[in-house]
């Protein structure tokens, strides 16, 4: 027993020693050292050309590819104060996570460097946030460019579909999870971009929650013309799976085969959403050629 304990202890010591230099390694970054506490903010920073300045990101910061190389400083909503301080930040940017966590961040990190708290729940908020980040990082020119480009995209769609009446809009059901069935409700960014693209998000009927769980029967009654799949990874034959659900064969989208899997860009309230807006509108509005459009829907 004692022998084993000693051996385990020795192995542990060796492991700690071996991993030590790694922990102390400094990230040699010139200029402002930025920490991003959400995957969407990481994407915005890269859009602003600040990828090189990021010294720490939250988990799941996986886009663009370079972001995967940046050290992790905690999960989304679970920032690790010690890791953040260790990376000697010059600016910490976070989304609105729980108020308690924000308070902690401001108390512990506030004295060291500014903490920027942003809301990214709607497209407008994303545009505003980009400008706020640009201001804090001296990249206002690039920030304005992005804002202009994105605002133009929004205006174009608004002009095209803004005047559609409820009846003219295409009935869209978004499925975020299948067990239980979960959709996107009123106030969610997906609902916003669907209505911008001339659709009517059926999940809006479930008021009071962003990601409501609903009954199978409810979807049958909604009778959506398009079914969009997001959230978790689907099996290869997702069309088959959905068409064979009990009583779903009469749903219009199932009859016409307009069941489309959304790409990764739609999983995040980030800048990639703007680039997808036109494609989404095409997907929702096209009555024919589903297969071609569904391929188009996937992110590159």
């Amino acid at each position: 027993m004692r022998l084993w304990l000693t051996i385990i202890l020795m192995i542990a010591v060796v492991l700690v020693v071996l991993s030590w230099p790694n922990r102390l390694q400094e990230n040699p970054v010139e200029g402002l050292r930025i920490i991003s506490l959400s995957p969407a903010i990481t994407e915005i920073l890269f859009e602003l050309g600040l990828g090189e300045q990021i010294v720490g990101v939250s988990e799941y910061s996986d886009y663009p590819l370079e972001a995967e190389q940046i050290p992790r400083v905690g999960g989304y909503g679970e920032p690790n104060i010690e890791l953040i301080l260790r990376s000697r930040p010059g600016l910490v940017i976070t989304q609105q996570i729980s108020p308690e966590k924000i308070r902690q961040l401001q108390n512990k990190i506030g004295p060291v460097c500014p903490v920027l708290v942003l809301k990214l729940d709607t497209l407008t908020e994303i545009v505003e946030s980009v400008q706020e980040i640009a201001k804090a990082t001296n990249t206002s020119k690039r920030g304005h460019e992005l804002a202009d480009r994105w605002n133009k995209k929004i205006e174009r769609l608004q002009k095209r579909y803004g005047n559609l009446s409820e009846k003219e809009r295409v009935r869209v059901y978004v499925e975020i999870g299948s067990n239980p069935l979960r959709t996107c409700g009123q106030g969610s960014y997906l609902s916003e971009i669907i209505s911008l693209a001339g659709g009517k998000n059926m999940g809006d009927a479930a008021t009071g929650s962003l990601w409501p769980v609903i009954a199978s029967e409810t979807v049958v009654v909604w009778n959506p013309e398009v079914i969009l799949l997001s959230g978790m990874k689907r099996s290869g034959d997702f069309k088959q799976e959905i068409s064979s659900r009990l009583s779903w064969e009469d749903i219009e989208a199932v009859k016409t085969g307009r069941i489309i899997e959304l790409g990764d860009a739609y999983k995040r309230q980030g800048p990639r959403l703007f680039e997808e807006l036109e494609k989404l509108a095409d997907m929702i509005q096209s009555k024919t050629n589903e297969s071609k459009k569904s391929k188009k829907g996937k992110s590159p």
């Binding site: 799941y60 989304y76 975020i176 999870g177 299948s178 067990n179 239980p180 069935l181 979960r182 009927a205 479930a206 009071g208 929650s209 990601w211 409501p212 769980v213 609903i214 009954a215 199978s216 029967e217 409810t218 049958v220 009654v221 959230g231 978790m232 990874k233 689907r234 099996s235 290869g236 799976e241 064979s244 659900r245 009990l246 009583s247 009469d250």
Partner: protein
């Protein structure tokens, strides 16, 4: 004669209430009142069937375990099934195996429950026997350990996965095809019939193992049989419906209070009452905040919690068995 007539009336009353509850479950749903649309009724029929199967299976499993373990706190999950099934489910979710098809989740949960059952059995076994106290302790410990592992999986999972797993732990009676409900229904039916056939032995075993062996019951064999039957029923239900709490605990107690502790009537009546209760709870969960759905486990616990407190208070006056 009047005794017999009384029983007959009670049986008819039970059948009628079940029919009413089933009818209610068919005509009422999240989209409101509906009697003429077969597409909708078919869907509700699936939910009602699954709720009935789950309610009956959990209630009978609870009744059997309360009897065998001679413990009023026993429920279908007391032998660690919940943790085992949850761990199997969690591993499937986190490993991304979900993408293989919709059957992977129930298969994973069932495998977890089964593995847990074998583990508890092996831990509890001393020589050729499985003493009740050891069985109970092994169940609780395995349940706690697997539960902790499940919590670990949840803590490292993404928000999406976390949400799905929490819903699973609160139970889910959503039906997407006929295959799974029918499969679970068949397994549960076999379990209920077995439990009913051997209810006489169960009655004797409630008296105590020594007494039972004096009365000619092969105690160890019977114990193993009841253990396997209850576990398989629970595992089958859990793999499709997730963890629906309280049904397996309160229904047997409620039925015992109403008609007495004789397992020969207790088991079939608990099956019917359990089925009816869960159908009703499910209808309630789907209708009350429509189009949103309440987790079924929240509804059963909300009804079950106060009832359980009442039972605890009542225990001071009477005996539970």
């Amino acid at each position: 004669m009047s005794e017999k007539a009384n029983r007959y009336t009670k049986a008819v009353g039970l059948a009628v209430s079940l029919a009413v509850v089933v009818a209610l479950g068919l005509v009422l749903g999240p989209s409101g009142f509906c009697v003429n649309d077969w597409t909708i009724i078919k869907l509700r029929l699936g939910s009602v069937l699954l709720a009935a199967v789950a309610g009956a299976g959990l209630s009978v499993a609870g009744a059997v375990l309360q009897g065998v373990l001679r413990n009023p706190l026993a429920d279908p999950y007391v032998l660690g099934m919940s943790g085992g099934a949850g761990l199997g489910y969690g591993l499937v979710v986190i490993s991304g195996a979900v993408a293989l098809g919709s059957w992977v989740l129930p298969a994973g949960a069932f495998a977890g429950a089964l593995g847990c059952m074998v583990l508890v059995y092996m831990l509890a076994k001393t020589g050729q026997n499985i003493p009740v106290s050891t069985l109970l302790l092994a169940g609780v410990i395995v349940g706690a350990m697997t539960g902790a592992l499940l919590m670990f999986i949840i803590s490292v999972g993404s928000y999406e996965q976390m949400h799905d797993m929490v819903w699973w732990m609160l139970g889910n009676l959503q039906v997407t095809d006929w295959k799974l409900p029918l499969l679970v229904g068949a397994a549960t039916a076999i379990g209920i019939v077995l439990a009913w056939v051997f209810s006489r032995e169960l009655n004797v075993m409630v008296l105590g193992e020594e007494e039972a062996s004096f009365l000619g019951v092969r105690v160890e064999l019977a114990k193993k049989l009841f253990f396997v039957v209850a576990s398989l029923m629970t595992g089958a239900v859990v793999s499709v419906c997730g963890l629906i709490g309280f049904v397996g605990l309160i229904i047997p107690h409620a039925v015992r209070l109403a008609i007495g502790p004789d397992n020969r009537t207790l088991i079939p009546v608990a099956a019917i009452v359990g089925a009816g209760f869960l159908i009703l709870a499910n209808t309630f969960a789907q209708v009350i905040i429509a189009p949103k759905v309440l987790p079924i486990g929240v509804v059963t616990a909300f009804l079950g919690g106060p009832f359980f407190i009442y039972l605890l208070r009542r225990r001071r006056k009477g005996v539970w068995i």
